[in-house]
């Protein structure tokens, strides 16, 4: 093979991939070269000198260009006179390495002796102690004794807050620059840097706000010492007391693999308690990164306001505690009484098993089940099933030749780790096209940026598709081809350069959100994306196809279990008399839902907290958080992933599936299953997409490379090895041997009228009823606002900071106006889940009234 070379390490020959550096190459064959500054996800810098090796190359005869041979006919090796840093050397044919010679051993000893001259050695109180690469490598390779004078030790500050989430201990820092390079290379926010030099070199920031990335927690993982720690875990536990439990982030469609580090804790009644959340390595999903929402958003799972017992309204209308059997009976009675007059809504934090049991309950209730998913902001589950990205797509494989189109999404806010991966793909040479109604942070890394009016979204995609159809139509197959062709015949190609870029792509991935679109409009946008992908042939293979930026962790699973956003819309249009709501705070988030529930006859809710939805309900059922139970989530790349019970139970709370199954039993259904795994078996038999999956298969894993979480000594505390399973992806229809494609002309939205449209948008650090319980994140949650374009603001007589009333569909919302050039004209951007007040799921016309004489509001 031409893409490997042979190198010799300590007398043994190995085949290694071309272009790899020596540290990784050795590691590939189980040989450890100790490192501090090197990290496989970062460019090498050669700063710490820990990776020193003896290095020799095959001598080349300059006159002939052939290798020089000795008398025996063996190639002559030219050794570098001094030790070389393995992390900055790339393998080449015939290279020879010594990693255990006396010279190397002495080199390592000396480096460690230097590194420790000013190290405080406060391991006994250091959070990293126990999984610290500096400890590990000192034990393995250190000199045991220091010749430096203790009194000459440099003393530096030990409690330096870098923002409110991360603490820096400057004495512990070994100046490896992993944290600064993470900020610079991976995140693109240059907010950490070194100051001074030599032994006084120290990490600083004077940025404002300081260290305000959405990914700050990752620096504490990759820091090879305890210099960076999180306020969440600082002094919380010792790593060796912790039991690692595999779990999945419940917040966004990325589906980051997490490790919950748990310990039996006095604070939690002696039960297992989550002490911190760490990334779990899955190179197909989140690699080794997670965002701060996933890392610090676990506090809801044991918040003091958790509901502990079932509640039912008594005769005088108060919610009072009752026993489980009583509520099961009561719900069954109501369901029987209402027959097909029942509607069901499942939240995006419900597991597939929960949703499945909810569906079974709905099926038992009669009529054709009405299964709505929440949040109901995006359409197109069928489109994803058809042209979703090919199985085994890895975002980190996207580079030169790949085009990534991100559309209708404030990407970093909606799917932070995907944002990070797309940004890095751009750095590697992939072309990123961002199409949005307003500037977003991804624009910085884009090869092309298109800013459209919300109503033009479909037109933008059509203008990419049209030129592809005008050729000789060699792709012309499948249903609807002719219709599409004639429909787009005269389509205006508004972005010709970008259309060319897309047409020349080897790989094309489209990330599609739904900002500014109603459900009907979004269905058209999804189809427009499908048209583009099918027409251009970017379907049915890895690294090509559609990735929906779903509004939650298990929205994909909900579609798979038969729930849909359209069903939610239909429930709103034709409200049922009886609502069964799983997990979602529909009334707290959406004014239309709040009205619908007020008018309902009977409402049953499973909830972790007394949300506005629960407060409306006639029966409130305490549900377990994701931390206390097992289940599966299906992420935006259709990967079904398992999570395991990490934390001890709270009160009488039960997993949603158990609650629904018990009610089903009351309705004459089968006996309730005993475990989530049993339900999954049922799913795998009845849901075609999940055929062949089971809990054992989902738990498969293989060594991840680069291995940063293994048992080696030098990436300790970074990310954990994935023993919980890498999950399985179900294939899109386009991957079938003889795929059936259908394209169709799409309707463009009616042009925006003169009035203002209220456009709900997402922010990552929101006040959703779960994340809000992480009090340490409150400082990162924006104050509620509505954003206006300067022209609109001028017309309305508004200035930044004015209080305004937004009237929409007969409801009034009061918020603070924010005026900025980036906001699109004709729209009022209103972040969802920022205030305690319900807002909207999808856009609607609104009017704005400035509140003239504002009385001083308390608080």
């Amino acid at each position: 093979m031409t893409d490997t070379v042979t190198i010799t390490i300590d007398g043994q020959d190995f085949e290694v991939p071309k272009g790899m550096n020596l540290v990784d190459a050795a590691k590939l064959h189980g040989i450890g070269i100790p490192v501090f500054c090197y990290h496989p996800k970062l460019d090498p810098v050669g700063m710490c000198r820990m990776c020193l090796v003896e290095l020799g190359n095959v001598a080349i005869d300059r006159t002939t260009g052939a290798p020089e041979l000795d008398e025996q006919g063996n190639p002559v090796i030219r050794w570098f006179p001094k030790l070389q840093t393995a992390c900055t050397q790339t393998v080449s044919q015939g290279m020879v390495l010594r990693t255990t010679s006396d010279m190397v051993v002495e080199g390592r000893e000396n480096i460690l002796e230097f590194l420790l001259t000013s190290h405080p050695l406060d391991c006994p109180v250091c959070d990293k102690g126990g999984e610290c690469p500096l400890q590990n490598l000192t034990m393995a390779y250190g000199p045991g004794e220091s010749r430096f004078i203790y009194d000459d030790k440099i003393r530096l500050a030990k409690h330096v807050p870098l923002g409110k989430l991360i603490y820096l201990d400057r004495e512990r820092c070994i100046q490896c620059a992993r944290c600064t390079r993470f900020c610079d290379e991976i995140v693109g926010d240059d907010v950490l840097a070194f100051h001074e030099r030599g032994r006084r070199l120290q990490i600083v920031t004077i940025s404002d706000p300081p260290f305000d990335t959405k990914f700050s927690g990752n620096t504490t993982d990759i820091c090879p010492v305890g210099a960076l720690t999180t306020t969440d875990f600082r002094f919380g536990a010792r790593p060796w007391e912790l039991t690692e439990v595999s779990t999945i982030c419940p917040y966004c469609p990325v589906g980051c693999n997490l490790n919950a580090s748990t310990r039996m804790d006095r604070e939690f009644g002696g039960k297992a308690m989550i002490k911190r959340i760490m990334p779990r390595q899955n190179e197909r999903v989140n690699e080794i990164w997670i965002c701060d929402k996933g890392r610090f958003g676990h506090h809801h799972s044991r918040h003091e306001e958790r509901l502990l017992a079932p509640l039912m309204r008594n005769k005088s209308g108060e919610l009072v505690e009752v026993e489980w059997p009583a509520v099961y009976k009561a719900i069954a009675k109501q369901l029987k009484a209402h027959g097909d007059q029942a509607g069901f809504v499942g939240d995006s934090t419900l597991s597939n098993e929960d949703l499945w049991e909810l569906r079974r309950l709905a099926e038992l209730s009669g009529g054709s089940p009405r299964l709505g998913l929440w949040p109901a902001t995006m359409s197109g589950g069928d489109v994803v099933a058809q042209v979703g990205v090919g199985s085994e797509t890895r975002l980190q494989d996207l580079g030169p030749g790949s085009v990534i189109l991100v559309m209708a999404s404030d990407f970093e806010e909606e799917a932070p780790i995907w944002w990070l991966q797309v940004k890095q793909a751009a750095d590697r040479g992939a072309k990123v096209v961002v199409a949005n109604a307003r500037p977003t942070k991804l624009d910085r890394y884009a090869s092309a940026v298109i800013h459209y009016r919300y109503d033009e979204a479909v037109g933008v995609l059509n203008s990419f598709t049209a030129p592809l159809l005008s050729g000789d139509g060699q792709l012309g197959q499948g249903n609807g081809w002719g219709a599409l062709q004639s429909d787009l015949q005269n389509a205006e190609v508004t972005h010709a350069d970008t259309a060319n870029l897309l047409a020349s792509a080897e790989n094309l991935v489209i990330f599609l959100g739904s900002e500014g679109l109603t459900l009907e409009q979004h269905a058209e946008l999804m189809q427009a994306a499908a048209n583009l992908l099918i027409v251009s042939g970017h379907v049915g293979r890895p690294n090509n196809g559609l990735i929906p930026v779903w509004p939650g962790a298990n929205v994909q699973g909900a579609w798979d279990m038969g729930f849909s956003a359209e069903a939610t819309a239909d429930l709103l249009a034709n409200p049922p008399a009886l609502w069964v709501i799983g997990g979602a705070d529909v009334a707290g988030e959406d004014i239309r839902m709040a009205t619908a529930l007020e008018q309902a006859e009977f409402v049953v809710v499973t909830a972790q907290f007394m949300t506005p939805t629960a407060a409306h309900a006639d029966i409130v059922l305490p549900r377990q958080s994701f931390a206390e139970r097992a289940g599966t989530y299906t992420n935006g790349l259709r990967r079904v992933q398992r999570f395991y019970p990490a934390q001890g139970p709270i009160g009488d709370a039960l997993p949603d599936w158990k609650i629904f199954a018990h009610v089903s039993a009351q309705m004459g259904g089968p006996r309730p299953p005993v475990a989530a795994g049993t339900i999954f078996r049922d799913i795998a038999q009845r849901v075609e997409r999940y055929i062949g999956m089971d809990y054992t298969r989902l738990a498969w894993f293989e060594p991840q490379f680069p291995d940063v979480g293994g048992d080696d000594l030098y990436y300790g505390g970074t990310a954990y090895s994935n023993y919980g399973g890498l999950g399985l992806q179900w294939p899109a229809e386009a991957e079938a041997e003889q795929p059936q494609f259908s394209v169709r002309p799409v309707r463009t939205a009616a042009p925006q009228t003169d009035g203002l449209t209220l456009v709900p948008v997402w922010v990552l650090f929101d006040r959703g009823h779960l994340f809000e319980k992480s009090e340490l994140m409150h400082h990162r949650m924006p104050q509620p606002y509505a954003a206006f374009n300067p022209d609109d603001a001028a017309r309305l007589g508004l200035t930044d900071g004015d209080r305004v009333t937004l009237a929409v569909e007969g409801h009034e919302l009061t918020v603070t106006a924010q005026v900025g050039d980036d906001n699109p004209a004709g729209a009022v951007l209103l972040p969802r889940r920022l205030s305690g007040d319900a807002t909207l799921s999808t856009p609607a016309a609104c009017t704005v009234q400035k509140i003239e004489s504002m009385q001083k509001v308390e608080g």
């Binding site: 907010v191 950490l192 840097a193 070194f194 001074e196 600083v204």
Partner: protein, 168 residues
Amino acid sequence: MLAEKYADRIQKIFAKYPDRRSGIMDLLYLAQEEYGWLTEQALEEVAALCDVDPTQAHSIAGFYTMYSEKPKGKYWLQVCTDLPCALRGADDFYAALCEFLGVEDGGTTEDGLFTVEQVMCLAACDKAPMLQCNFHYHENLDMEKMKAQIEQWRAEAAQPEQPEDERP
């Protein structure tokens, strides 16, 4: 604000480099010249001009010893006390200078005129004792010469209109 006051010079600095961030060191000198030392505001201004994060400007200012992020007297006297200079009496000279000005090592005189500091080799070992004042060399010094020079600086500083020819 640097941007308005030195628009021409800034223009010339940027013209020398292919991208803006490369101009940062020149601009830091300019800012130091303007403000006497690199205040946080100065760092922010320079960072904004070069389109980098202020933390990066801070980092560069911290690495190079010819930038100062602490208040400095009008005359910044950096005396070399490295080994070769010490052999020619730089140590004693420095001590005498401190005593004459009534300051500690590294200190600034009360009138804000002079800051003294010991530095490493300035590559003028053969003309020790020596010092650099605002990056200009004064060589073969003794206290007699020094006192005369200090008088001259004091006189110069008393005339506010005089151009600051001692600054780079």
